[in-house]
Subunit: 316 residues, 2 copies
């Protein structure tokens, strides 16, 4: 948390007030991270809602005007729209400004944004690894990033002070900051986020298309595991379409490995190799323990959905 | 909930005091469903723990002696062990007793259990679609089945009174009871539970084996979706090994469909077909809404993990 007094950022401009953008606005206000917050969204309905919620000092649909005079501009639009936004604002950015983003893909974002930024404006790409299955300005909350990781992928030679400004913003929002190259980020996220979303979307689609099992049965008996996948498969369709298209290579590479491993498992089932199954199922428990131990997950049984009602409840 | 007064079951014997068995014991006690509860477990450590927790009136490792005089016997052991248990208790069951089970696979259980039961003893196979990722007698709680579905798959010609006795037990535990054939059960659960578990185990294994991304990175950045899969992949290895071996046909059939659909998705990504992706990602949201509407899932964002801290929190 920053100390009271002068906010570290003068004017903070946020482009795109969805789940992430509106959470940044709320957090920046709550933790005193910016003297002034400008909310920019091309959707008139979102603008109205942001005004009603009082999330910013100024709300506009004009990105070029909105970013003028901003010390820090954070692009929170879907990855597929980010190049167009950069083109729109490029000429209007103030010298010395730092531009960041929150896209779930980094190499494609760097390629789309960097060419549009003038000399004297630094680009520090970022990705807060946090979110929920809900979208829009109402879905955000100020503690969304608390205890979560935010990955920065500044190109080599980026101004150190610019990196520090963006790092300070995320630390102020409660996140833990790590830096890596855009390419490595895209590989890591392909396995920890993109492929999991893809197979979740896929199995929900498979279930919906069955002719031997009705949709009503799928819904009724979803507590056996399926419903966890539906949460992920309820994420924003536009955001996720863009992610898969922008991180094609890494996603297909990781998906290939997933498929190879799944073929081995299917063969073990077909041939009754219980030992191979038991070995894998034992090994996977350790990863879960690591995630819980690192505070990235609740240890509550069933995510705390099945409340033990005051009785003894195991934690493992 | 049953009315106060005479419990509907005289002596209830539970074989296997893990998550499910111990939850039945707790619920039967709490809701007054049995006059006497006998806990049977071959593991001395479990026996000792069940005694300490006071979950039963009598605790024994001797299944044959334990089931003697019981009106209702519920087998709560892994599916692969259920035939051996049935063989062990068959000759010791009282005439008029009803035997049930809680296995996640039904056709294989019917085949394994039925031959060992004497005339005059009814078998009403059951499957409560509920659970958590934790195992053992400490993990259970009396409300585990509350509002969840329990599927009964009585063979044709089963004594109606026996079916009613088992239905009454589950309704007493708070479950909603539905009946279907064992074969249909196995298809439904293959898609709503078994294949989801298989692909969750699989992706956690794939992630653990990568050489380009470290296990520490997978753990740190798991909040992007991966961690939801690890909860499922932390489920009991023996139970799940047995399920896949016992429901081989249906699992491989559903897995084949999953794979076909995944190939189509992979191709859409490779060729940049954003519309196909967006269409699927939009369609899958509806299934989630159905599950939440039916009370089988919380509508809280991120399962309530990311607490909105008193601010406006969207429900969708």
């Amino acid at each position: 948390m920053p100390e009271a007094g002068t906010p570290p950022i003068g004017r903070l401009a946020i482009v795109g007030l969805g789940l992430i953008g509106s959470s940044i606005a709320r957090g920046a206000r709550r933790y005193g991270l910016a003297r002034e917050i400008v909310a920019i969204d091309r959707d008139a309905g979102v603008q109205a809602r942001v005004r009603e919620l009082g999330l910013a000092d100024r709300v506009t649909g004009d990105a070029a005007a909105g970013v003028a005079g901003a010390d820090c501009v954070v692009l929170c639009v879907p990855v597929g729209a980010i190049g167009a936004v950069a083109a729109e604002i490029g000429a209007h950015l103030s010298p010395g400004a730092v531009v960041s983003d929150v896209g779930s893909v980094k190499a494609a974002v760097v390629a789309a944004v960097a060419p549009h930024l003038p000399a004297g404006v630094a680009f520090v790409p970022g990705h807060p690894v946090a979110g929920t299955e809900y979208s829009g300005p109402d879905a955000g909350f100020s503690t969304l990033f608390s205890g979560r990781w935010c990955i920065l992928t500044p190109p080599e030679g980026t101004d150190a002070a610019a990196i520090e400004r963006v790092r300070g913003l995320w630390q102020g929002l409660g996140a833990i900051v790590e830096t890596m190259t855009p390419e490595h980020h895209d590989l890591v996220l392909a396995i920890t986020s993109h492929v999991p979303h893809l197979i979740a979307y896929n199995i929900v689609g498979t279930a919906a298309d069955l002719e031997t099992v009705t949709e009503s049965e799928v819904i009724k008996f979803s507590a056996g595991g399926f419903r966890d996948f539906t949460r992920i498969a309820a994420s924003d369709p536009t955001m996720w379409r863009d992610i898969f298209l922008a991180n094609k290579e890494a996603v297909l590479e990781m998906l290939g490995r997933f498929n190879e491993d799944l073929s081995v498992l299917a063969r073990a089932i077909r041939w009754g190799d219980g030992e191979a199954l038991h070995d894998l199922f034992t090994r996977t428990r350790a990863i879960r323990r690591g995630i819980v131990a690192m505070g990235q997950e609740t240890a509550e049984a069933d995510f705390g959905r099945a409340r033990p009602d005051g009785e003894t409840a195991a934690k493992g």
